[in-house]
Symmetry: D2
Subunit: 342 residues, 4 copies
């Protein structure tokens, strides 16, 4: 099979990471690359790490440019995907790396994004119950947010096994690439290096309803999520520290058994051996997720921690993984569980 893929938004960090992965995907041929404000520029100037594509030039994002491909990846600002997807027709696989089609509840969408809800597409987190099946053969995929990926994979087994109460508290640290490539004062290297700082505190971050959606589905009841994202002085990586009240009778053993079972056959999620904790450096550039879990008896809480690369498993790798499933390819085609460390 040769799959011809276009990338809309090839000049950003998500687009660049996606191209890094597609370049070594054995079944993919890279087609059109678009990027509005950077149309006409050499990719070598924008993504100097992608040497094999250095001489490619970006075109404007348009239906014409994106036509004639088997797969179109959309790495566009929120709210722009629906219009593009409509023009592509129902037979093209459209993989939306933005937020537009992630939420099931229109009210949540409108409250957090302030625009009309465009709909809901099959959700590209195959490790969650039911998601893998929904992706098979699908022509539309909503790639999860980076934080919801890390958080859902850290906590869902505990919820699915009834070991966690509906009061999740999450503090996650993200590398600066999660904030995108548009220059803003607080993202300058001088500001980011040597500093940890929170943002979107108090339930206002847009990834919150997506986490609630995923955890509630696993729990079979409404889970509240207190979510605090923080900006860490690194380029990549998310470390999600998650906890919830331990339900009655939880033991370290029952907790570990639940996670062992949940991830026994997952190619990308690795429950670490007891005593070893995740580190973002270990999954740098890889599609792997490292997970560890503990029971704090004195505090009466379970603690689950995951590490992902926000650009790989958190965005572009998750997109490729879901594409593979949709196309009937082996799920790990073109993806790696090997990190670039130190």
């Amino acid at each position: 099979m040769t799959v011809r893929a276009a990338v809309a938004g090839a000049s950003g960090y998500a687009g660049g990471e996606l191209l890094r992965l597609l370049l070594t995907h054995p079944e993919v041929e890279i087609g059109a690359l678009t990027g509005n404000s950077n149309a006409g520029k050499r990719l070598g100037a924008l993504q100097p790490q992608l040497l094999p594509l250095a001489d490619r030039t970006l075109s404007e994002t348009s239906a014409e440019a994106l036509a004639g491909h088997d797969v179109v990846f959309l790495a566009l600002p929120h709210g722009q995907s629906a219009a593009v997807a409509e023009q592509l027709g129902p037979d093209v696989l459209v993989v939306d790396m933005g937020a537009d089609f992630r939420l099931e509840d229109a009210g949540d969408w409108e409250r957090f994004y302030g625009s009309p809800h465009a709909g809901t597409w099959p959700y590209g987190l195959p490790e969650l119950p039911g998601c893998r099946a929904a992706l098979e053969g699908s022509k539309r995929i909503a790639v999860p947010g980076c934080y919801p990926t890390a958080v859902s994979l850290a906590l869902y087994p505990a919820y699915a096994a009834g070991l966690a109460g509906p009061d999740a508290v999450i503090v996650a640290a993200s590398g600066a690439s999660g904030a995108g490539r548009t220059p803003k004062p607080h993202l300058l290297g001088s500001e980011v290096m040597g500093s940890m700082s929170p943002y979107g505190v108090g339930g206002v971050h847009r990834h919150t309803p997506e986490m609630i959606q995923n955890l509630s589905a696993a729990a079979g009841e409404r889970v509240t999520v207190s979510f605090t994202p923080t900006l860490a002085p690194m380029s990549r990586g998310i470390l999600a520290t998650c906890s919830a009240t331990a339900t009655e009778g939880v033991t370290g053993e029952s907790l570990r058994a639940a996670y062992t079972k949940a991830y026994a056959d997952e190619p990308f999620v690795h429950l670490l051996p007891e005593g070893q904790w995740p580190a973002t450096a270990s999954v740098h550039g890889s599609n792997a997720v490292q997970v560890q879990v503990a029971h704090d008896e004195a505090a009466g809480r379970i603690i689950a921690i995951s590490a992902i690369d926000n650009l790989t498993k958190g965005t572009a790798g998750g997109a490729v993984q879901s594409m593979n499933i949709a196309l009937g390819l082996p799920e790990d085609t073109g993806l790696s569980t090997i990190g670039v460390a130190p």
Copy 2:
């Protein structure tokens, strides 16, 4: 007044930071500097940032070396302070920057430190109720741990005002200097840079009982603490993200009022204007604490976040602040609320 001060443990990070502050303290004259494994070495080779002391030489830590000073600061490994303090006599002000005399409960000490409890000294966090008075005229001071400093100042006003339930959840990120200067593989620059990683997860970190002690005192009831420390890719700074169930009837206004009142007259703790959140870079090298608080109605929790410099307010600055009180000097003598940023 001229206070002659000795520093035992002058070659570590806490000792170096203390000397940085003492060098500009108008009432202090720096006396003996000791450091066992580095005895005989020039301070200029160990602490090259302290140019005015470059030609001083470290001596062995001994009662003789430390005799004849008004104040002796102990920056020693846990468990060594009691023996030294005894030899110094009751009229010398002994400021212990280690953990030995922080905990009131001998059982807590033994469980977390595995050795007999040496006792309890006045606790050097003057912002907590009763602490300032206990420090006045004291000849013994137990300097708080860096994490308990950040966490207690983030949360105590909420507990003191009855706005927070007894289920604190804390995730804190610390710069690598918090782990000390002894070379260990996981503290190598190659490991730390570009990585966030947790450690001491699940209630086992030694600072946990100290937090419980402080928050329970403020709350007037036993508070449980789920504490997860993480190592961040920076040299200095702690960002403590703390939350607890909001008690019935809490509003954003009542929360803000409690913090405003608690810190109105505190020289070092700054409640930020609404909408502005702490960043560790802003307190780099300063004794200031930045605090902000929010009420997440949907999650039913209050969120309080603080930023400190772990070596300054978290260790050496807190020590100097408490020394000032003990000696009857203005509390902010030789201390600054100005950070070195960016």
Copy 3:
């Protein structure tokens, strides 16, 4: 003496560092703070590290706002200082932290800056021969560039003593704050962290003629300078690695003797003991300069390396030091040789 000082350009990195220093300067009272695009904003939002000034508001840069001060510091974009200075009158001490009045040669100015030359003011690098005397009582000061400060102090003793040939080769690494606070894609944290990259290669960087001017004056002959600046993944600091052909008969001893003599009485320049080399962390936030020198016999070159904080000695500290001289204050008033490390 109380000196009333205004700062034009208080929202940038140089302005912020200047305010940090002025806040602890015992003879200075901080007056007007201006900043065009940020006029009307609280300083606490722009420079959150300067807590004592948090409630000050920026005004527009104008003759009226700057009137009535003893000293006016200009931290403005290149080319704007002359017009402001004229309006301030000849009795006000004007300290220009921009490039406008640094170069003696109008042709150099026009070639590198592309605009008419505004003139030459006394040069604020007191350690260079003749500079200190020219600053005494002056009402106009041109603060040197950060790279020329580091490079001139590394190399001038060798040139003054006739030990270095006229072929200086300089490679300097600077922290990102040297590039200023205006957001640009290549200055994003995601780009800067984990990367070293050169810029302005091949003799085109604007600081090149200033270095040539200083080194040629010391040498008494025209010195060529091959200068390559590089951007390093840190917020502050310059490490300047400088070399030149060793002139006939140079020895390690003669070299060391020249530097020892040059800096024996300098309060801020420290020739390190043999075998110890500068590190930028050691001068973080300090006005100190660390210098070391070696003779590479096999290569026939002398190597001189200096470390400064680009924002302190390289900009704002140098400005304060020169102001002190101009006003007849002790040169080190309000300045420190103590770095904030680690």
Copy 4:
């Protein structure tokens, strides 16, 4: 072809990077993994980024453990390779990633390493004239040092074309992984982050004679090298800023032509388009070398700058590339020119 490969020294940074590459090499099967002080430990604890090998256990380095492989990679401390290689027999391909067999001149070896010279093996930098041919079919390979790799590829085309005088001046910045994984105080994260510092200044770094050997061979005359390595606050990457006197008649065009010709057919060395300069982030985790060159007419020097990943092209990638040649495999098998950035 299936090549069975053993790695001696699998717990260090070079060994880990080598395993990362071998895991995706289509012709290699990973055999014995040894590491003396870590013998008996799980690789998952030592190299947590290598998930597919997590359950492998390290054995002691011994002839028995290394027997029965087609290729043995030695990532051992200097001076230990010869003894191991002798035991492996002449038919096994031995790839030494240490320094033992790099230098041709026994006197150089003895001066810089202080032990008897073990010999000289074919040099694993195929891009240098004659090296590729010498590697074909060879059973012994000396992998170059990381700095000599970066420097030789930056400068050799200029020397080979007679455009550079014999007075190379090199300042290179390296990530901390270049200093290895043995914990030392100056390599602690707290020391490395936020700091640039030189080491081995004045012609004493052990990589100096290797650079002289390579550049002199290209020039056809003895080239002197003034080499200053600096430690940069990043985990990986080398940026080598190299210059030399421009010979008579050099122009930007002649310089560019020489480099274009030298690297036209090289799979890993990329001469960047004019105006674009190398950055270490662009080659992070890749075997690519980015090179750019300029002529500074005013200074009379050519400037050549290269960026490599010190662990990939600078060590393990170079080793695999040379192994491929020795075994008759396509040279780029299992290697990539795609960096992991940002």
